[in-house]
């Protein structure tokens, strides 16, 4: 590595920042429009044709807004926190490919790099909560730490299972290895677990308990306004997009399905690159729309349910995924057996959930303490 390589990486990151900002504008517009559809209203319509410029207008508003800091907040921690949330989330994109060769820096440990840096942004959330010196912000920060640490484990285990099948941690190799049979078909259980815990990792709606408006009034972000709040907002959407594109690359075969089309125009031509990029983006936006759909459909789950789901449900199941893949690889079993095993577990899971949903809860699940009991120092 020399100065020239470093310069190229820096230029690539700059381009990426611009592209991601544009993507976030489109995501916000798409989310508001789609949510509007789900709720039988139009969504933004005034600024630009079909409201397309609404998110631009919102961005300008946010930047021009007065940046307020509470008098009692811890200045240094308060200002550093948004940076600490944004930087790791942005660093992840260094190695995420948009097509064959369309990547800033292809790393052999790419997948591990992505999971390692996705986690680091928790520190920023906790710092934001603590630095605001607001009880709701502190509670939100604590919630974020607990939630993200818990759901990190299933993500890492499922990612390890994917790496086992692909025999590589390089994202481009993983896509190439999938061929015609994407891992969503080969290991549907892993796909399901990755998607659910990915949703929790980015704090999207059924799992947005650390910024829940009705409980902790915005969580770590309560005291932020203007540009600094915009940084958190940007980070959240970039993170959601990262989980969407990772799902597309790891489980839906990335740019594999358009191979015949790309062969027609010549595999190395610019058109082939454009087609691959288009395929990845279509899959990613489709997954993002599913995330919005879930947001428009499901109620937020309670914090004890969230923890129970993570530790009693997703963590053991993700270990099971690794185990199944181990058996499949070690004994060289046929592919259909892995699919069958995955589907059996998944079917059993849904049957159990359905039966549980049908029966009314027998006793309240929350343990109630009288306030005097809680105040006593243990």
């Amino acid at each position: 590595m020399n100065w020239l390589d470093l310069g190229l990486v820096v230029v690539g990151l700059g381009l990426l920042l611009g592209a991601l900002s544009a993507v976030v504008l489109s995501l916000v517009w798409l989310e508001r429009k789609f949510l509007g559809r789900l709720q039988m209203r139009l969504g933004p319509m005034v600024v630009g044709p079909y409201g397309t410029l609404q998110s631009v207008a919102d961005g300008v508003k946010l930047i021009l807004k007065e940046d307020i800091r509470p008098d009692w907040a811890d200045i240094r921690v308060f200002w550093v926190a948004p940076v600490l949330v944004f930087v790791p989330i942005f660093m992840v994109w260094l190695t995420i490919p948009f097509g064959p060769g369309l990547v800033v820096q292809s790393l052999d440990l790419g997948l591990f790099y992505v999971t390692a840096f996705l986690v680091t942004s928790i520190v920023g959330l906790v710092m934001a909560g603590w630095g605001s010196a607001n009880k709701y912000a502190v509670l939100g920060g604590l919630r974020a730490a607990g939630q993200l640490i818990s759901y990190e484990i299933p993500v890492i285990m499922v990612v390890a299972a994917v790496a086992m099948l692909a025999q590589s941690l390089n994202l481009e190799v993983i896509v190439a290895k999938q061929g015609a049979l994407p891992y969503a078909i080969l290991m549907p259980l892993g796909f399901f677990l990755f998607f659910v815990s990915g949703l929790a990792e980015v704090g999207r709606t059924p799992f947005d308990i650390y910024e829940a408006d009705s409980e902790v009034v915005g969580g770590p972000f309560v005291e932020y306004s203007g540009p600094h709040w915009a940084v958190f907002f940007l980070a959240e959407y970039i993170n959601t997009f990262a989980v969407s594109i990772l799902t597309a690359l790891l489980f839906l075969g990335g740019w594999n399905w358009s191979l015949t089309l790309r062969d027609l125009v010549g595999l190395d031509s610019l058109w082939a690159q454009a087609i691959a990029l288009a395929e990845v983006l279509i899959k990613t936006y489709a997954i993002f729309l599913v995330i919005v759909w879930i947001r428009g459909t499901f109620p937020r789950i309670r914090i004890d349910q969230l923890m129970a789901l993570g530790w009693k449900g997703l963590v053991p199941l993700s270990f099971l995924v690794v185990l199944l893949n181990g058996f499949y690889l070690f004994y060289r079993l046929p592919e259909w057996s892995l699919v069958a095993a995955n589907l059996a577990v998944l079917g059993g899971l849904f049957a159990y959930l359905y039966r549980r949903a049908q029966t009314a809860p027998s006793a309240p699940t929350i343990q109630r303490f009288p306030a005097r009991e809680l105040r006593r120092v243990r």
Binding site: D108, T115, F117, V126, M127
Partner: protein, 163 residues
């Protein structure tokens, strides 16, 4: 000056600065955050030594998990009691431990010295093969240790809850 040397200088400065911040800041929360800076700089040094896997493990375990658990503990204790810890009775012990570590490292550096400049990147496959063949017993022992710790945590918290 070559790029790697320049990067090393920056990383070493950040790492030492973070370490100094940990011991000099009077606020425990600041100390934890300085520790994060220091640990991430160590990850950068690992990258310079071509040990990329180790660097990522450092980011994942120390940058993510350890610092979070530390902050968690800080936030669950009463911050007024620990707000300004500038002096405590463990100081002589800390000096002794630091001096011992410094002595050991100095002796090792003088005896061993820098061994040439060739760095070799060990890829993940070789690392994994070594870990699961020649080092499998230590690996299993670490696994058992972690399991014991987990069980211990469960037992301790349950005993407290029942009281």
């Amino acid at each position: 000056m070559s790029l790697s040397l320049a990067l090393f200088a920056v990383l070493a400065a950040v790492c030492l600065g973070g370490g100094l911040g940990v011991v000099t800041s009077s606020n425990v929360a600041y100390a934890a955050l300085f520790l994060l800076v220091s640990l991430l700089a160590v990850a950068g040094v690992y990258v310079l030594l071509l040990a990329e896997f180790l660097a990522l493990v450092q980011v994942l375990i120390y940058g993510g998990a350890v610092i979070i658990v530390l902050l968690f503990a800080l936030m669950l204790t009463r911050i007024q009691e620990f707000d300004h810890v500038t002096d405590n009775p463990q100081k002589p012990l800390a000096v002794l431990a630091a001096a011992t570590l410094l002595g050991v490292l100095a002796v090792a550096l003088v005896r061993g010295g820098p061994r040439g400049n060739t760095l070799q990147n060990v890829d993940l496959e070789r690392l994994g093969t070594a870990l699961f063949s020649s080092w499998v017993i230590p690996f299993e022992i670490v696994g058992v240790l972690l399991l014991v710790v987990l069980l211990g945590v469960v037992i301790i918290t349950q005993a407290r809850g029942e009281r």
